[in-house]
């Protein structure tokens, strides 16, 4: 009876210390990871990105339509705001077509009747994002249409970038 008890005690104590050791190891590695700034992929973060449309030619951009594609498991758009300055400033949020939203596709569009149009690269929208994957989210852009106040098509490119 006594021999059995002693054996049982030793086995329990060994198990306890083994568990403790494993947990301590996990705890230390957790601390180290946190100190190194490693972001847990399960912790979502909220960030903004600018949608920049670069239109060429002498005539300013009056209307644009851009398709965005992204991995919906890694990033979600949680709000859209106007860009940095007039005519597509922060008080002029773009409109969106939600068809395909659940599959990671959204079409943003806006137009202005403001007379002061701009050419070249301009931030036309600010995207409010919830990012669940580590690192920079990949968002593909495609200009569906870009036009002048007269309705003429103009050549343009678009990209999503961090505000510099």
């Amino acid at each position: 009876m006594t021999a059995h008890n002693t054996k049982h005690e030793t086995r329990n104590a060994k198990r306890g210390w083994l568990l403790f050791g494993l947990l301590l190891l996990a705890a230390v590695s957790g601390r180290a990871a946190a100190a190194a700034g490693v972001v847990e992929s399960a912790t979502p973060r909220f960030e903004t990105r600018e949608l920049v449309v670069d239109s060429r030619g002498a005539v300013g951009l009056a209307a644009w339509q851009v398709e965005l594609k992204y991995d919906p498991a890694a990033v979600a758009i949680v709000g859209v705001e106007g860009g940095a300055a007039a005519p597509f400033g922060p008080d002029k949020p773009p409109f969106y077509d939600p068809k395909g939203l659940t599959a990671g596709r959204i079409i943003l569009a806006n137009l202005t009747t403001d007379g002061k149009l701009r050419t070249g690269a301009q931030a036309v929208a600010k995207l409010h994002l919830r990012i669940t994957a580590p690192g920079e989210p990949k968002i593909e852009t495609k200009v569906v249409a870009a036009g002048t106040a007269a309705g003429a098509r103009i050549k343009a490119t678009a990209e999503v970038k961090k505000k510099s």
Partner: protein, 707 residues
């Protein structure tokens, strides 16, 4: 007793392991998840490393919910105690109660029968700590909510429509991380919840909601109705997804999914409502007026009129009603088309003849169902009694009738329908005059009893309910009526200044009948008398539309109701192709013993409004919800959510979400504050709003049931 050493050693190991867990940041609550909040509002997971928080939160009463920003080792502001004092500010003797909702404004543009409304709610934090504001508010039950903006200063962030649970999850994450976020959800087709997280002290945030609906055309008059307050609802025992009526500050104690907090009679808030309508009636108008509010009108260019409240602002305690009557002959059946991107839709307003005297009269079997619950006490019950008098006096000798009344339970004037003889009518009038309002709103009991009354097949059975509709179990009632209806028609009559129009309109829809409303300042005898007289003259039964060469699909309502004089029916559908030139449609039906066929020329509208597409989408959602009342499975919810997202029209399974991800707000913790509202004009607080503590006491059973 001696503890064996092996147990001591195991315990020691466990204590050391727990310490290690705490040291490494591991807690009972996993990272990224909400801290577990107890009924008292304390967050266990945060107490260990937030001693100051726990001290300042000590005085928080059990009714408040406190949330803590998820930010490692952030300095604590220590302002919570002061904030508490603000939140507990009592309004006595009509004193202002500080609430985070300062102002609401409604800007309505009416063009023909289409209305586009922009609602702007201004939230301002009057407290000294961050808050999350929650406001439960009404919109018309046919409102197609299509756009949502969060406005912070000059910045306007457009919200994105998402599946509801996903949107809620993201909102909670943003709230916990300290971002300003706004979430709009639909609780009922006419009840919505607006939440805004992380409003900093003294800061202001606006939300703008856009919706489309149609104005009603009833008895030769157009009517625009804007509800401004949700009436206090009664929820039968066992209900958990109802809409509760709670005293201010007690909302979080509600067992229901949604709780509306009400200001006590001696309290008021500074929340006022402004309403402005730009009316383009698209036909000459003889008269514009409002039975609910004093208005001023101003003629504008192009036959339009600008209507505003004479007092500019008003307390939101009654529906705003605007009516206008065409100057010329009554409106004829009308057809509109709309276009939104690639989508094309139509709206058809079927208008029956207005003069019932030309129609054959059908003997009726009237079953009146009268709500005499606590919320009907006073003016509403008086209106019902007035209306009942008019109805009974309007019965023909060939008609039969019966009266059912309900509050906590249902009872009836007699067991079978009785002939409308002078003696029976006299006895019935005495019965109605003696009704007293008290107790709960067990509408199911009332309808069950009404449908159990034996039916004479030779007569048209009309079940007519008179109520304010203040119940939280609308779905159950609609499903019940749908299952018991048989060949009967339901005529629903809403009484009061802030009626639950979703229930009233829903009953009329599932009951293939019609709905009518009367405010407490209106003459119910005349309105109801006319309504029920007309119920005896169906202008067209077995109605069907032959669409001819028109390519249509998803036409709603799927089964067209009988047409009664003065009660037009709106039919909407999707156009699958352009309308060919010279196209006609035929409206067919039976009138008396003969078959009637009306041919109507249809064409594309000169300016196809996107609003028609939004309204069609909303009707499709409403039809699916009504068809499946009480039995919505996951597949249907998924289908509705997908449709709602792809058409950007809110439904109960989606939400609009906006997060300002550009900045984390200051402060570590916040309080959830519900916006309390006044009880609607004509409704008594003491018979409708019950303290949760009182509900639990058997001695207060009467108050528990009083709604």
């Amino acid at each position: 007793m001696k503890i064996p050493p092996h147990i001591l050693r195991s315990l020691a190991a466990a204590v050391v392991m727990l310490a290690a867990c705490l040291w490494s940041g591991c807690s009972v609550t996993p990272r990224g998840m909400a801290p577990c909040t107890t009924a008292s509002g304390f967050s266990f997971s945060d107490l260990s490393d937030r001693e100051e928080s726990s001290r300042t939160l000590e005085g928080v009463p059990v009714t408040d919910e406190v949330w803590v920003i998820e930010r490692p080792s952030a300095p604590h502001s220590g302002k919570e105690a002061a904030a508490r004092a603000d939140l507990l500010a009592e309004g006595k003797n009509g004193e202002l109660v500080p609430i985070p909702l300062r102002h609401s404004s409604y800007e309505v543009k009416v063009a023909g029968i289409l209305a586009e409304t922009h609602v702007r709610q201004r939230y301002e934090n009057p407290f000294s700590a961050k808050i999350e504001a929650t406001y439960v508010f009404p919109l018309p039950d046919d409102a197609a909510v299509t756009d949502f903006l969060m406005v912070i200063g000059e910045r306007r962030i457009r919200g994105i429509i998402r599946e509801r649970e996903e949107a809620k999850k993201i909102y909670e994450e943003a709230k916990r991380q300290g971002y300003v976020a706004a979430l709009l959800t639909e609780e009922r087709p006419n009840i919505f919840t607006q939440k805004i997280a992380n409003i900093e002290p003294g800061k202001q945030i606006d939300v703008e909601i856009t919706y489309f609906n149609t104005v009603k055309y009833l008895d030769g008059e157009f009517e625009l109705a804007l509800p401004t307050v949700v009436g206090p609802r009664y929820n039968p025992a066992g209900t958990t997804d109802g809409v509760d009526a709670m005293p201010r500050g007690k909302g979080c104690k509600s067992p229901q999914a949604v709780a509306v907090e009400y200001l006590a009679p001696n309290e008021r808030s500074g929340h006022l409502v402004g309403i402005a309508v730009t009316l383009d009636p698209q036909l000459p108008v003889a008269r514009i007026g409002s039975p609910s509010h004093e208005i001023t009108t101003e003629a504008m260019e192009g036959g339009r009129t600008r209507i505003v409240l004479a007092a500019r602002e008003t307390v939101p305690n009654r529906d705003f009603i605007l009516r206008w009557r065409p100057a010329d002959k009554p409106l004829q059946t009308a057809f509109w088309t709309g276009r939104n991107g690639d989508e094309r839709a139509f709206a058809l307003l079927l208008i029956p003849p207005a003069d019932e005297t030309t129609l054959p009269r059908q003997p009726r079997e009237m079953i009146f169902v009268v709500d005499r619950s606590g919320s009907m006490d006073g003016a509403p019950l008086k209106k019902v009694q007035e209306a009942m008098r008019a109805c009974l006096e309007g019965l023909d000798a060939k008609d039969t009738f019966q009266i059912v009344e309900f509050s906590n339970r249902a009872s009836s004037f007699g067991s079978d329908p009785v002939p409308a003889t002078a003696a029976n009518l006299k006895r019935a009038l005495t019965y109605v005059e003696k009704l007293k309002a008290d107790g709960g709103t067990e509408a199911a009991a009332g309808f069950k009893l009404a449908f159990a009354i034996p039916h004479d097949e030779a007569k048209l059975r009309i079940v007519s309910i008179m109520t304010d509709g203040y119940i939280g179990n609308e779905e159950e009632i609609l499903a019940l009526v749908k299952s018991k209806l048989g060949g009967a028609r339901v005529f629903a009559f809403g009484v009061g200044n802030s009626v639950n129009r979703y229930l009233i309109e829903g009953l009329a829809a599932v009951g293939h009948g019609a709905a009518a409303f009367v405010g407490l300042d209106e003459d119910s005898g005349t309105a109801v008398g006319r309504f029920y007289r007309r119920a005896a003259y169906p202008a067209l039964t077995d109605v069907a539309v032959d669409w001819g060469a028109l390519g249509v699909e998803d036409v709603f309502p799927k089964r067209l109701p009988d047409l009664f004089p003065g009660r037009p029916v709106l039919v909407t559908g999707r156009l699958t192709s352009a309308i060919p030139g010279g196209a006609t449609i035929s409206v067919c039906g039976r009138r008396g013993g003969e078959t009637i066929r009306n041919r109507i020329a249809v064409a594309e509208s000169a300016t196809p409004a996107p609003a028609v597409c939004h309204i069609w989408a909303r009707h499709k959602i409403a039809q699916l919800l009504l068809e499946n009342a009480g039995e919505r499975d996951g597949r249907l919810r998924q289908r509705l959510a997908e449709f709602s997202i792809s058409h950007t029209v809110l439904c109960p399974y989606t939400a609009f979400l906006a997060v300002d991800a550009s900045r984390v707000t200051a402060g570590d913790a916040g309080y959830s504050v519900n916006v309390p509202v006044p009880v609607p004009d004509g409704v008594r607080y003491d018979t409708t709003v019950v303290d949760p503590e009182q509900r639990a006491q058997p001695a207060n059973r009467k108050s528990e049931r009083a709604y």
